[in-house]
């Protein structure tokens, strides 16, 4: 297998990790804690997409091997993930009067509740979307790239979502306020920004992106109740690599970590005997190394010692 092929796989996986990382980073900087339920929010998005797809079915013409109904279902999945996150914020996190560590521990409880409810509803077995399996695109095969139309759909959709977020952050009022709040919550509040509303919006956007990432992860592999938790640590690695609190850092970190995980076989080709089964382990080790050498990450600003 060639480097190009690993890179193509890496691009698809990275797209999914980026969608998860942005949300985690946003919530880390604006809600102020490491949200361990973020992976399971992805799972919620994936299963909501599954249900919605079952309802709307394969309506409409087909784009990149996916009926329009799937994209519609994914929008519903995104909405459900966002609603679930907002309801959780209202019921669970908001009434709490504890520090960021308490919130972190609470989010583990939230993650378990999500996962338990999904297992009760759908069982523990792996499920797939009813979109059929595709053969790799013929035109790319001569270059040694085995990519299906679904993979292309994932990359393009992720690019659209990320570009949309970039426009939102840079060119809208909400985006400016979110950046201000991520930068310095106290100053933002003192400047008259209704921080409570911004916090809700960051939950909506972060969980929505996580929901889309979950739906794509289900399309890339399959759906199972632990799917989100299984990528959570990879996403944390990406967020830390990029620098916690920086949305653009999360994009970069997600891209790099996704690439590293998918390019693992190259290590063996280069004579370093480490199997593909240690891909995630390598991601964690990179994370720990980054934490030690440059705790602010690649794109992170110099944060004060205590952080958010």
């Amino acid at each position: 297998m060639s480097i190009i092929e690993y890179a193509a796989n890496g691009l698809v996986y990275s797209s999914i990790i980026v969608l998860g990382s942005i949300g985690l980073s946003l919530i880390y900087s604006i809600a102020g804690f490491a949200n361990f339920a973020h992976g399971d929010t992805m799972t919620v998005g994936a299963y909501a997409t599954l249900v919605a797809f079952g309802v709307v079915g394969g309506v409409g013409f087909s784009v990149l091997g996916l009926p329009m109904g799937f994209f519609l279902a994914m929008l519903i999945g995104i909405a459900v993930a966002a609603v679930v996150a907002v309801v959780t914020e209202k019921i669970v996190y908001e009434p709490l009067d504890i520090g960021s560590i308490g919130l972190l521990i609470t989010s583990i409880g939230v993650a378990f509740v999500y996962r338990a409810l999904i297992r009760m509803g759908f069982g523990a077995d792996a499920i797939q979307y009813d979109v059929g399996t595709l053969r790799p695109i013929e035109a790319l095969l001569p270059y040694g790239i085995r990519m299906t139309q679904h993979d292309v759909a994932i990359v393009i959709s992720a690019a659209v979502l990320v570009t949309g977020l970039h426009v939102l952050l840079q060119h809208t009022d909400l985006g400016r306020k979110m950046r201000a709040m991520a930068d310095n919550p106290d100053l933002a509040r003192a400047s008259g920004i209704r921080t409570y509303r911004i916090k809700l919006w960051s939950w909506i956007i972060g969980a929505g992106l996580a929901g889309s990432g979950g739906a794509f992860l289900g399309l890339f592999n399959f759906l199972e109740p632990r799917m989100g938790f299984n990528v959570l640590l990879v996403i944390f690695a990406a967020v830390i690599l990029g620098g916690i609190g920086s949305v653009y850092g999360a994009m970069l970190g997600g891209f790099l970590i996704g690439m590293v995980v998918e390019m693992m076989p190259l290590f063996t080709d280069l004579g370093i005997p480490i199997g593909i089964e240690y891909a995630e382990a390598v991601a964690f080790l990179i994370m720990v190394a980054v934490l030690l050498m440059r705790p602010t990450g690649i794109a992170g600003d110099a944060i004060d010692g205590e952080g958010v």
Partner: protein, 395 residues
């Protein structure tokens, strides 16, 4: 004033919560005794459950000496538990790739040494990190250890796990033969339902004895440590690390001591588990074990060893209770078993953090020598001795 010499005064001196918990425990013990005597609950199964609960309590002790004392968020409890279990199993199991079938004492030593070495190796890079980074990093490193046990078949037997582990006392001179020598006792309190105490009962009784030695030893050490200047310093690090630094203390070194101590206790629980369960698989290193122990510690009260004991028993009640619910046919299938357990644990974490973040039995007089309490303290310190003496809370 001891509970025996002055029961009345002892009772009055407890906080309302403590009285409630004591009364509840009394009721539960009473009903358990009734269940055992009538044969509704098998004696050896009960002892097995008791062993499991004590094991969780031991794990909670370990986490308590890291999180409760020093404020280290260690999310690799399952990894250290697994290191202890694998250390013991690799030395003793009949299908161990490393030869095995040594005396369990070697397994105990290997498990502890393994845990201490890995604890130092993990601690050196991570203990400098701030709290939430420490949580993520330890969870990541625990996953690395789990991936290692699954994939390095030539060392660990992979997902098949290790079988044929002897009981701890099997090769000991007298204790090893006790289960075989002891007679089967038949107790018939109710006509028609005799309670038979046979081989497995004596086996489990030995297990429980071993557990009580482990638990008692650990409890005594931790109690002593908690009230010592060393423990006081750890609490200072927990509440204000900069202050401890400003006082000229090498906080990194103290954090390492607390981390290694906790990890050793977790490995001890792992060793016990290997000889209780007689089978060890990589499943035991799943992060869920870590979170069970966190529930136990938070529920019991961070920093409180009595709380950790209580939390350990509650966690086993949830784990085994959900299994029991599974067998009741009224409950629909999809509700039972693993998802229900997960839901219960999740809700418990949320509810405790919402309504009682300090836990059921927060540390109060545990932290100070009894002789240090003067009689001027209110007889019923609902908010704890420390508060009423103007000490403030420690978290």
């Amino acid at each position: 004033m001891g509970a025996l010499t002055d029961p009345r005064g002892y009772w009055d001196d407890l906080t309302i919560t403590e009285q409630g918990v004591t009364a509840a425990i009394g009721l539960i013990v009473l009903s358990l005794v009734l269940l055992l005597l009538t044969g509704a609950l098998g004696a050896s199964y009960f002892l097995f459950l008791f062993g499991l609960a004590g094991m969780y309590a031991l794990l909670s002790f370990g986490l308590n000496s890291q999180w409760g004392f020093t404020g280290l968020i260690n999310f690799s409890v399952a990894a250290f538990f697994g290191l202890g279990a694998y250390g013991a199993a690799l030395m003793t199991a009949s299908n161990s790739p490393l030869g095995g079938e040594f005396n369990p004492v070697f397994g105990l030593l290997v498990g502890l040494v393994l845990a201490a070495v890995i604890a130092v190796a993990i601690g050196i890079p991570t203990l400098r990190l701030r709290a939430d980074y420490l949580a993520i990093a330890t969870l990541g490193l625990a996953e690395v250890i789990r991936l290692f046990t699954i994939n390095e078949r030539q060392l660990t037997n992979g997902s098949a796990g290790l079988r044929g582990i002897p009981t701890f006392f099997e090769e000991w001179p007298v204790l090893g033969t006790v289960p075989d020598v002891m007679p089967a006792i038949e107790i018939e309190l109710l006509p028609g339902s005799p309670v038979v105490l046979g081989l497995s009962f004596w086996q489990q009784l030995l297990n429980v004895a071993l557990l009580l030695v482990f638990l008692g030893g650990t409890f005594a050490i931790l109690r002593r440590a908690q009230r010592s200047p060393w423990g006081r310093l750890l609490r200072t690090i927990r509440s204000d690390e900069d202050l401890a630094k400003a006082l000229g203390k090498n906080t990194y070194s103290y954090k390492m001591q607390s981390f290694v101590l906790g990890s050793l206790i977790m490995a001890l629980a792992g060793v016990f588990f290997a000889h209780l369960n007689l089978v060890v698989t990589p499943d035991q290193l799943d992060p869920i074990t870590t979170f069970y122990v966190w529930v136990a510690v938070i529920l019991g009260g961070s920093g409180s060893n009595r709380g950790a004991l209580l939390g350990g028993f509650v966690v086993v009640a949830i784990r085994e209770g959900s299994r029991f619910v599974n067998e009741i046919s009224v409950i629909p299938d999809f509700l039972g078993g693993a998802p229900l357990r997960l839901l219960a644990i999740g809700l418990l974490i949320i509810l405790v953090m919402r309504f009682r973040p300090q836990g059921i039995l927060p540390p109060q007089r545990e932290l100070i020598w009894p002789s240090a309490i003067d009689d001027a303290a209110p007889s019923r310190p609902d908010r704890g001795v420390r508060d009423s003496k103007g000490g403030g809370t420690d978290d």
